[in-house]
Amino acid sequence: MRRFYDTDLATPLMLGTAQYPSPAILDRAFRESGASVATVSLRREGAGGAGQSFWSMIRELGVRVLPNTAGCHTVKEAVTTAHMAREVFDTPWIKLELIGHTDSLQPDVFQLVEAARILTEDGFQVFPYTTEDLIVGERLLSAGCEVLMPWGAPIGSGRGLANEYALRAMRAEFPDTPLVVDAGIGLPSHAARAMELGFDAVLLNTAVARAGDPVAMARAMALAVQAGQLAHQADPIEPRDMAEASTPVIGKAFLT
C-alpha cells in the first residue's frame, strides 16, 4: 500500500466534518464510516480560540486530522490558514484548496502550485486538491507534494467520476504516488469505482453529511471503499465483447 507521507492509513476513507445536522450525528457517522482521516475547515472566525469547542470535538473523534484551506481564493490566504491549522491541530498535514471559480469551486491550479511550493518549503506535508490534469500533477510533485487529490466532479455536486478516462490516465502516469479522489462523490458506487481504478483513498463530505440519514450513508461508504479496494487487489477480469461460458460446452448432449 502506498503511504501518505510515511503514514499508513487503516482504511481508505477520508471524511469531511462540515454540514452535519449536529455534532452528535457527525460523531456517529464517523464511527460507522471507519474513516481514518477527518478533514476540517478552518475559517477565520475560528481564529484566536473561537472555534475551540468544535475543534475539540473533532480531535475527540480519535482519527488523524487533515485540516484544509477551504474557501481560500489566494496564495496568501491559503498560507495564513495553513499556519493557523498547524497551530490548532499540531499537524504538518494540510489539504490545500485554492478556489478559482465561485460557481464550480474549481481549483486555481496556478496558485495551487505556488502555494504548495511555499508550504512544502515551510515543512508542511501538502495534500493538494487539484484537477485531473497530468501536467499540473507533475508540477505539484516537483513543488514537493507527495500526494495528489484530483476531483471526481465539482465539490458537493454528487456527480461521481465525471472523467473516468482522465483519472485512469492519472493512475497510470503516477504509479508510485498516493492518489485520492476528492470531491464529487455522491453515491457508494462512485466511491467503489474510484477504488476499483486503483486510487488509494476517497475523500468525501456532502454525500454523507447531507444524506437524509448520514449515519447509514457513512456505513454504506465504508462498505463501498472496502469492496472497491478488495476488487482492485483481486485483479478483476477484463470486459469482453462476446460471452465466455464458465463451463465448457463441448461434449455436452445438446439434442436431448
Binding site: 445536522p21 449536529s22 455534532p23 460523531d27 472566525e45 475560528g46 473561537a50 437524509g212
Partner: protein, 323 residues
Amino acid sequence: MTPYSVIGAGVAGLTVATELARRGAHVQVYDPAGGPGAQGCSWWAGGMLAPWCEYENAEEPVLRLGQQAIGWWADHTKVTRNGTLVVAAKRDLPDLRRFARRTEGFTETTEISRLEPDLIRFDRGLFFEHEAHLDPRQALADLQTGLRDKGVQIHPQKAPKDAPNPIDCRGLAARDALPDLRGVKGEMLMIRAPDVALTRPVRLLHPRIPLYVVPRGDGIYMLGATMIESEDRGRITARSMLELLSAAYALIPAFGEAEILEIGVDLRPAFPDNLPRIQRRNGVTYANGLYRHGYLLAPALAQGVADLLLDGKQSELCDEDCP
C-alpha cells in the same frame, strides 16, 4: 408555597417563568441586564415558528414539540399564521427536491406570485401553510408584561446565592456549569425596504448560502442567518454580510434599495445533538441548549421544567439522570 428563582430573562427564562406562574407557582426572575435586550441571543432571533421546515435538518422532536409552540405563543403574543414559502433558483432545484423529501406539511406550488407578488423570479416552491411567525422583541416584551401582571418581578441583579429552587436559563453563560454546551455563531441583518411587501417568511435554498427573510411589518425585514461553528461574538464578517445581502438581492432585487437598520451577531447555545435539555445538578435545574430553535422549542422546554418541578413528571427533554 415553594418559591422558584429563574435565572436569565431571555426567551428560555421568560417562558419558564411564564409557564410556572401560569400554573400558580411563586416565581422570581433574576437578570443583571434587567430584562431582555441586545445582550442575549433571543433578541436577534428570526421568530419563525416553522417546525415542518426545520425538520429538514433537525431531529424528530423539533417537528413534534415545535408544533405545540404556535398555540402557546398565540396565548401570549401576536402570532401571524400565514405559512412559510420555500423557493430555489432554477439551477438549485435539486435542493428544493431534497427539501421536499426531508420535510412534510407542505404543498408544492407553481403560483408563487399569487402568494407573494414580489417574488417574480421563481416559478415553483413549497408552501408550508400551517407555519407561523412572531416578532421576538414584541414576544419578549409581552411575556414581561404578562409576568408583571401576575406579580412576578424581574430583578436587575444576579441571583443571590441562597435564591430558592434556582432554574438556570442563562444560555451560553451557563457553560461554566455545563461543559458540553457550545456556541454556534449567527449573523443577521435588519433592513427597511418599504417597496417590498412580503406577508410571510420566505426561505431561499442555496447549496452554500441559504437565506430566510422574516417580515416584521412596516417594511422592516429580518435577514438571517449564518450558522458558523465559532464562538466569536464580535462582529459580522464582510463575507457573511455580502452573502446575506447577495442572497436577499437574488430573492427580490428591490432589497438592493433597502436601508440597513441593524446588524446582529450572537452565539446560539447548543448541546452536541443540537436539542434542548433539562438537567439537575447540585440542586440547580438547568434549561438550556435551544440552539436555533429558541422560540420554536422554548414552550416545550418551559412545560418540561414545570412538569418536572411542579408535578414530578419527566419530560422527554429531561436528562436520564434527572432526579
